[in-house]
Subunit: 364 residues, 2 copies
């Protein structure tokens, strides 16, 4: 099985990753050790990691560490983009991590042919979303890949330490040669927080979807090879489940507009996506009252699970669903109201952040 981070094919069996690729499971020991386990840890959405122990130690000892994430500026923020963005804010806010946020515009160019002028505009919009989610720009380094020479330097140095066979083994046969190069740019991104200009080696956590593991493995391998020169601490990663398509598809996809929504989408456009989502409901109301619903099959439950912070609220839904108290129509309407209210607030906050986002990216 070959993981391709550029066209994430549905990875439905996360356990396979743990068994076959050596991703370590995130168990209750880790979750319980965290002074403030966020919802992604508490709820098992983060299911695996590589080398998280050094980050955990830094958290527990109050030592400096960094969190790195980024976005390929190819479109508006959507439901799926939130998982990573919220985690970067989590580490910064709860544990004082320095946040590194990369706008992967070179990748957007190589992969999607989006010219830099256009991806710059998209990036402003994306960054405003992240700022609205709570990213503190004063404790963050935000940059465009195309403007960050240190990342390019690291990419070329990485290239000198990697064999062509290894690139192929990890990424498969890529037609566009530049895609291999952008993979090495991502290596550079992940190593950047340990650059001497940022106070050198430190633990770094990269929260990613499981489909990004190839980048993580490559980076850790290259970090080992460059260790004698830079004293890198091997970068860590956590792996989270991807929120699945509302319509029942395995994966949210732009090609399938009913599977997801963008954060800036008209609320009247979002409503039918939620109201028509796949649920774990029974064929008839009577059956549902008798047998209860099946939340583990339900994309509305999944939506609540990912999006609603209040544990007791989510537990309540689960309980009322499985004991037949809550009927799908009512549940959908309730979740829609919650999501709509959150979106309204978020977009108000975001609008106020657009100027700042422009300023932050313009400066670089």
């Amino acid at each position: 099985m070959l993981l391709d981070p550029w066209s994430a094919s549905g990875i439905d069996d996360y356990e396979k990753l743990i068994k076959e690729f050596g991703i370590e499971p995130v168990n209750s020991d880790i979750v319980n050790s965290l002074p403030k386990p966020g919802k992604y840890f508490r709820r098992g959405i983060i299911f695996g990691h590589r080398g998280f122990d050094v980050v955990l130690a830094a958290i527990l000892n109050g030592e400096p560490f960094a969190v790195l994430s980024g976005i390929k500026p190819s479109g508006a923020f959507h439901l799926g983009s939130l998982t990573t963005a919220e985690q970067i804010v989590y580490y910064q806010k709860e544990y004082g991590a320095t946040a590194f946020y990369c706008i992967a515009d070179v990748e957007a160019f190589c992969d999607n042919r989006i010219p830099y002028e256009k991806s710059f505009k998209i990036a402003i919009d994306n960054l405003a979303d992240v700022l609205a989610l709570g990213l503190d720009p004063d404790k963050a380094y935000i940059y465009r890949q195309s403007e960050e020479k240190r990342v390019m330097d690291l990419a070329f140095e990485a290239g000198a330490h990697v064999t062509t066979a290894m690139m192929k083994a990890i990424y498969g046969e890529q037609t566009v040669f530049g895609l291999y190069m952008t993979a090495l740019l991502q290596v550079g991104d992940i190593l950047l927080p340990e650059h001497e200009d940022f106070n050198g080696p430190k633990p770094v956590v990269v929260p990613v979807g499981a489909d990004q593991d190839p980048h993580i493995r490559l980076t850790r391998d290259i970090a080992k090879r460059l260790r004698s020169r830079y004293k890198f601490i091997l970068p860590s990663a956590t792996f989270h489940r991807l929120i699945r398509g509302l319509d029942g598809s395995e994966k949210m996809s732009k090609r399938n507009p009913m599977s997801y929504f963008e954060l800036n989408e008209d609320i009247e456009s979002i409503k039918p996506k939620i109201m028509n989502a796949l649920t774990g409901g029974r064929p008839t109301v009577r059956e549902q009252r008798e047998l209860g619903g099946e939340p583990y099959k339900c994309r509305i439950y999944e939506l609540a699970f990912f999006r609603i912070d209040d544990d007791s609220f989510v537990e309540d839904i689960y309980r009322k669903c499985t004991n037949g108290e809550l009927i799908c129509g009512d549940c959908k309407a309730m979740i829609f109201e919650k999501i709509a209210a959150w979106l309204k607030e978020h977009n108000l906050r975001k609008r106020k952040m657009l100027d700042l986002a422009y300023k932050l990216l313009e400066e670089k």
Copy 2:
């Protein structure tokens, strides 16, 4: 037949390049059109070109053009390094071309594992040689690859426009992935003179050994693909014969110290290399007096042909050799004296250039 610019295997049949690879011959029309044909043109050392017509037109019309060359800073300047270096000076001095001189330190790192701190020192020495040969730094842009972000930008953009299959077809299977990347850096180097920061599109000539044709073909191909965006004029190249090993080997090589000498080598070390060089002499003096020597077999004649500017002097040797007047021992001693005198002067000039070379590279 696959040309590999990183481990130039002896290309003994230059005609094959013209027939098989579509390099155009440099004929007498071109040479006679040049207002000041330098020795490399006059003597047919430059045997082929790609797209030289646009450069020739710029020369004849007094329009701006650029000449680009460079060096991989992996060791001291040697006999073979002079051919390219003298041509860059030629275009700058005779026709007012803007000279671009690239220190390919990223390539030195990928290919020879030379760290940047070390290649920087070598580069200072190399640049001092080029300055001593007459390069005017006020009309030149001299840079280290590792410091020139525009070249990296162009390399990544080139990568997005090239297929993996094409890289393999041109460069073969390379174990170190970074070597493909440095090939794209060279593409960036060659396109740099047409960057908007340097007044945009213009004819550019790149004087290279025939073994560098892969880079030229790749660059011209990519320049075509990027044309709609940057209006590039396809870069031109001329191809010159490589001076062969003094000891009779087909190629000067570091592994074979008798085949070449470095410009800063002790004169007592150079002397035996010249005095023991392969000649076109006959087995006995008597035979030589009767039949004459065979200069086309003679590495001393080749040395004179490449290194001594005075046409009549070189013609004189040829005549005296072939008519039996000149005996190899005398000829070698005479050529050695000429070379030694030139080297002495050159190294005096060079020593005075070291500070300037440091300053020029330090600034970047």
